[in-house]
Symmetry: C2
Subunit: 108 residues, 2 copies
DNA sequence: ATTTAATATCGCAATATTACGATATAGATT
DNA sequence: AATCTATATCGTAATATTGCGATATTAAAT
């Protein structure tokens, strides 16, 4: 095994899971925070910031991009990776909805 | 390999990653949504709801519990699993902070 | 035209995750 | 006491993830 049974879940459930999974690694969280901090953004900076090899960071960036959490634009020699606000908003809305529902419950 | 280099990241980065990772599976998202829906909560219900074996669901519940996303209280024969609002709040706050920071940036 | 710099991809090894069936455990029911 | 019901744990197979070094690739600088 090792593969998830995605077929049996809703589109939204799979989508949220994909995004959450992409955030499920401290290096990727650190990358997001670094992008926030520097505002402008070039991958090679991150290589000096994180204790990981360049190839590993490139891989993490790819996963963040696939999940729609960051956008990357080629800018001459380097690449401008930025936060994709939209996806983070989807997450925030989703969690807000959960919290709202829980708060209005009486169980536990 | 297969293990993350958690040592080199901050406590918060690791914590957020752990919680996000726990949500990074559609079955676990479905479990959360089911808990929300039924309000009262017994694991065995979920077995009839999801296309997964009882042992698999038990495993997923364990991971959600370890990440602090749900709480479980033994209630006689069965177990009352409920959403742990606190952890969801932490997530929401974290994403809100990200969105706030991004919105006030001019890059990209 | 070469070289340099920034990034991506490949191939691999180590480990983690997912899922299942079988079995254990523990309280409830008979 | 025996059985049922709900849940957890174990063992195992299949697959995914993490991380690295080596090697592309592509644009910039010399």
């Amino acid at each position: 095994m090792g593969a998830s049974k995605t077929d049996h879940f809703t589109e939204e459930q799979n989508q949220i899971a994909i995004v959450a999974k992409a955030l499920g690694h401290p290096a990727r969280i650190a990358i997001i925070e670094y992008l926030l901090k520097v505002n402008a953004c070039i991958c090679n900076d991150i290589v000096n910031e994180l204790p990981l090899a360049q190839s590993t960071i490139s891989q993490h960036l790819k996963e963040l991009k696939n999940a729609g959490l960051i956008k990357g634009e080629i800018e001459g020699n380097s690449i401008c990776y930025c936060i994709n606000e939209t996806t983070f908003n989807v997450l925030k809305e989703y969690f807000s909805r959960i919290i709202f529902t829980v708060t209005n419950q009486k169980c536990c």
